[in-house]
């Protein structure tokens, strides 16, 4: 015990350099590493596209791009309601926080349903991870890989939000939990801001 007392005397400088809780720090570190996962997938998708002469452009403005835009709207709006939820939780208004988290979940579920519909439509048209009717077979792998990983993030986010909503209602979750959950949700929205233009808008079929 004497040793540890000596240690704390000699090495007690610094304190907390970031002034954030361990949960927030942990979430940010996870998000940075997750950015690299999505970054590598997006960059390899761009690479494959640039290196091939027959990259498919299968998305007509109606219905594909219109639905993808609606999905973007759902995610952006759910980010807004999440920001409202964090603000309400900060004020200590737990009922409003739960209400806004539930609205966020609604946005996420709408996104998932619309995206599942899009997947089924493409599978119906003959797109597979290893082939498609239009050109470079890498298109399917890129599309399903990227959007699939993102969909999985949205799905996990919906579950995470559900847990936090329940905990907030019961008073078992603190404001920090809501805030950290918000960080994750905004990140999922942020990643879609790159997937939507790169996958969809770059592959709009010519008029």
């Amino acid at each position: 015990m004497m040793n540890s007392g000596l240690a704390s005397e000699n090495w007690n400088g610094g304190g907390s350099p970031y002034a954030v809780g361990h949960k927030k720090l942990g979430m940010w570190l996870f998000l940075v590493s997750d950015s690299l996962t999505f970054g590598s997938l997006l960059i390899s998708c761009m690479y494959a596209r640039t290196a091939s002469s027959n990259w498919p452009t299968p998305f007509p403005m109606w219905p594909s791009i219109a639905f993808a835009s609606l999905m973007t709207f759902c995610l952006l709006t759910s980010s807004l309601t999440m920001a409202f939820a964090v603000a309400a939780s900060k004020r200590g208004d737990r009922a409003a926080a739960v209400k806004f988290i539930l609205l966020t979940i609604l946005g996420g579920v709408a996104f998932l349903v619309l995206h599942a519909r899009e997947w089924l439509h493409l599978i119906d048209e003959g797109v597979r991870p290893w082939s498609n009717p239009w050109g470079s077979p890498l298109f399917g792998a890129s599309f399903f890989g990227l959007t699939g990983l993102h969909m999985f993030h949205v799905f996990s986010g919906v579950v995470y939000l559900g847990v936090i909503a329940l905990g907030t209602r019961n008073g078992k979750r603190s404001h920090e939990d809501v805030e950290v959950c918000g960080l994750y949700w905004h990140f999922v929205d942020l990643v879609w801001m790159f997937i939507f233009p790169l996958i969809y808008l770059m592959s709009v079929s010519p008029k």
Binding site: A51, S53, N54, A87, P197
Partner: protein, 96 residues
């Protein structure tokens, strides 16, 4: 509505606006694919910056925290582009 919520709503409107601009660019086929990719990436970076600064309130965290998180991320993502010129080389060799 609190001041914060008003700010969030404005950010949401700006994000929707930028998405709208992207849609118009795609609909009109204004640019060549290479230029289009560049313009879309710049718009996306602007949107990502707005989301991080206001929604994820990174702007109100300590500068030390931001400097620990973002520069390494930018550096590693940039390094991933190191092999990108190969994509053009393969294409120009006519290996397809």
């Amino acid at each position: 509505m609190t001041t914060h919520n008003r700010t969030y709503t404005w950010i949401w409107i700006y994000l929707l606006g930028l998405t709208g601009i992207e849609l118009v660019l795609a609909y009109q086929h204004v640019f060549t694919p290479g230029m289009m990719m560049l313009v879309l990436m710049l718009l996306s970076l602007a949107k990502a910056g707005m989301i991080m600064n206001w929604f994820m309130h990174l702007g109100s965290e300590r500068v030390t925290f931001v400097l620990t998180l973002l520069p390494p991320l930018v550096l590693v993502l940039s390094l991933m582009f190191a092999i990108f010129p190969d994509a053009f080389r393969l294409f120009q060799l006519g290996t397809h």
